[in-house]
């Protein structure tokens, strides 16, 4: 049942090793600084997509609020970078909005040892709490999605409204250094890219272990029959809250890695539309497969960059179209399509199985 030939185990590692080689060695050698930086940004999105896939693809919770967790991670990191850039002075946007002293909750973010864990813990804890409260009230399906969407709306409004503390619509900008290294230096950016790529790889491997375990199968069982799982003797509330917390924490981690590479975090990155975009990544790649989530994040963002360079304004339209097409024609995403084609190639009769 569980035993597999050692050869096939090695073969299972080949695609991963290939991807690692591509991302860690080939890409930094062949891509321009600008393109590599762009790829680094996409890899952050891929980390988020992995978490969203755990939440949606495996556990069946369609979160339309993943941008919030991404944003919280991003803001935590940006607060640290902003304080580093301000060199003991009051951050610029605070003095513009009339604050005369650093707010108390900003103070601990002057320390990396506080800010970086918080970039993961705050969104993780918020997601865990939301997941717990919603599942405890047995809120699922469309209602679950709507409430998470409302969360995205609330947080955007909150962050825009609290300009003295958050930088308002502009967000937090003018970040200069990280641990004393200039963010404008291509070498710093290359290191950040490599850290992101390694983080993505580690996240992928951890989630692969989780989803391949009995816990992973419990998630799938909850997705396919939450009530039946209750009658199996499990309490789905704890399990779903945990999965949602992990998804939120990974989104926060992605946000924290994103900020130093892009140099800004703003409410526009955590709102309703980006949150839907995140769902499209996973849907297009193939929910319920980790590879699909990563590929989806990379491909959709590649398309977005290309399209918005060549046809500005067309992206939102293209995104909507893409979503409809995927939902109607590719319910299992690109990975599902590849599998189906692969099966057809192997044997004609099994093609439809």
């Amino acid at each position: 049942m569980t035993a597999r030939a050692p050869g096939s185990r090695l073969a299972g590692w080949l695609p991963f090793a290939g991807a690692a080689l591509l991302l860690l060695v080939v890409a930094p050698l062949v891509l321009s600084d600008f393109r590599l930086n762009l790829l680094g940004k996409f890899l952050c999105f891929a980390i988020l997509a992995l978490g969203l896939d755990l939440v949606w693809g495996y556990t069946g919770m369609l979160s339309l609020g993943q941008g919030v967790f991404f944003g919280l991670g991003g803001y935590a990191m940006a607060m640290y970078l902003k304080l580093e850039a301000s060199q003991g002075e009051l951050p610029d946007f605070m003095s513009w909005s009339g604050l005369s002293a650093l707010p108390w909750f900003w103070k601990p973010f002057a320390h990396a040892w506080f800010a970086i864990p918080m970039a993961i813990l705050i969104p993780g804890a918020l997601a865990g709490a939301v997941g717990y409260l919603l599942t405890r009230s047995r809120i699922r399906g469309a209602y679950f999605s709507l409430i998470t969407q409302a969360l995205a709306l609330i947080f955007t409004i909150l962050f825009i409204g609290q300009q003295p503390y958050t930088g308002g619509t502009n967000g937090i900008t003018n970040l200069t250094t990280l641990f004393g290294f200039s963010l404008g230096d291509p070498r710093t950016q290359k290191v950040l890219y490599l850290i992101t790529a390694v983080t993505l790889g580690v996240t992928y491997l951890l989630l692969r272990r989780v989803t391949a375990s009995r816990f992973g199968r419990l998630l799938i069982a909850i997705r396919d029959g939450e009530n039946r799982v209750r009658f199996c003797g499990y309490n789905p509330v704890a399990v779903k809250a945990l999965a949602f917390a992990v998804g939120g924490a990974l989104a926060g981690l992605a946000g924290a890695l994103f900020v130093p590479q892009v140099g800004i975090i703003s409410p526009a990155m955590m709102g309703v539309v980006p949150s839907i975009e995140m769902v499209v990544w996973v849907a297009l790649g193939g929910r319920g497969t980790l590879t699909g989530a990563v590929l989806g994040a990379l491909l959709v963002n590649l398309a977005k960059t290309y399209l918005s360079e060549s046809f500005p304004g067309a992206w939102t339209f293209g995104l909507g179209l893409l979503f409809v097409l995927v939902v109607v024609y590719l319910p299992d995403g690109l990975v599902g399509l590849v599998r189906r084609v692969g099966l057809m190639g192997k044997s004609g009769e099994e093609g439809l199985a």
Binding site: R214, R217, I220, A221, D224, G225, F231, C232, G233, A238
Partner: protein
């Protein structure tokens, strides 16, 4: 009502004013195998729903030993040793037969422990359960691809592997072939010793072949209780089954042969 390991006391369940169960008293003794019959809509499934925590009583209480089941959540009731099978087979279609059993087996473990692989002992228990329900040859197959009867067996296996003290089986042989029914009946008798089993079943032939004590429900109440012969010759039972049976074909089964 005398004592019993499972005691249902003055149970009433209302759905929007409609009484699906109406002041029902019922009990099961340790080690008993009981059949529960009654026409469509009699409230049999609702009774199982209440015992397993899916539906809350409007009035009355349900005790299992000293535990008041009407206050517990579904998974807490399972933890007490009460396992239920649904009327329509409900297994996890995307998991294999083996994985379905593995999931059912792990219900007492803490969540982090589920990240570790199943031990040797667990594998043996799954293998033994597969043999008990006759699905060894299907172990690696996705449960969604099983035949109707095989799904029913898998679901029974998922209950058995949890070693429950009380099994609630809602129409376990529905949709099975004659031979599958026979095998299921034998399985019931094999697993019965040492536990309580409550079986909801319409099929009279199955009843005559495998039941000792039968409880008849009608319109949310107990109509009759006793041996198969006694119940079959109870005029009130004959009446409700004949009254409806002409249209539904259940009455014929009751009186024929």
């Amino acid at each position: 009502m005398t004592g019993g390991a499972l005691r249902v006391e003055n149970l009433t369940v209302e759905f929007d004013g409609f009484k699906a169960i109406d002041g029902l008293n019922f009990s099961l003794q340790e080690g008993e195998l009981r059949f529960l019959i009654g026409p469509n809509g009699a409230g049999k499934t609702t009774l199982i729903d209440v015992i397993s925590g899916r539906v809350r009583p409007t009035a009355g209480r349900v005790f299992f030993g000293h535990s008041d089941l009407s206050r517990l959540q579904e998974h807490e009731i399972v933890a007490l040793g009460i396992a239920r099978k649904f009327q329509t087979p409900s297994v996890f279609p995307h998991l294999t037969v083996w994985e379905n059993l593995e999931l059912a087996l792990g219900f007492r473990e803490r969540l982090p422990a589920l990240l570790r692989p199943l031990g040797r002992e667990g594998e043996e228990r799954i293998a033994a359960t597969l043999a008990t329900v006759g699905l060894e040859h299907r172990a690696g197959q996705r449960a969604g691809t099983l035949s109707h009867g095989e799904k029913q067996w898998l679901e029974i296996g998922m209950l058995l592997i949890q070693e429950p003290r009380l099994l609630l089986l809602d129409e376990p042989v529905a949709g099975m072939t004659r031979r599958e029914r026979e095998l299921t009946g034998q399985l019931l008798h094999r697993i019965a010793p040492g536990r309580m089993i409550l079986v909801v079943e319409h099929d009279m032939e199955f009843l005559r072949r495998f039941a000792h004590t039968v409880t008849v429900m009608h319109e949310g109440r107990i109509l009759s209780e006793g041996t198969v012969e006694a119940v079959q010759s109870d005029p009130r039972v004959v009446e409700i089954y004949l009254g409806r049976g002409r249209q539904r074909g259940k009455g014929q089964a009751l009186t024929a042969g």
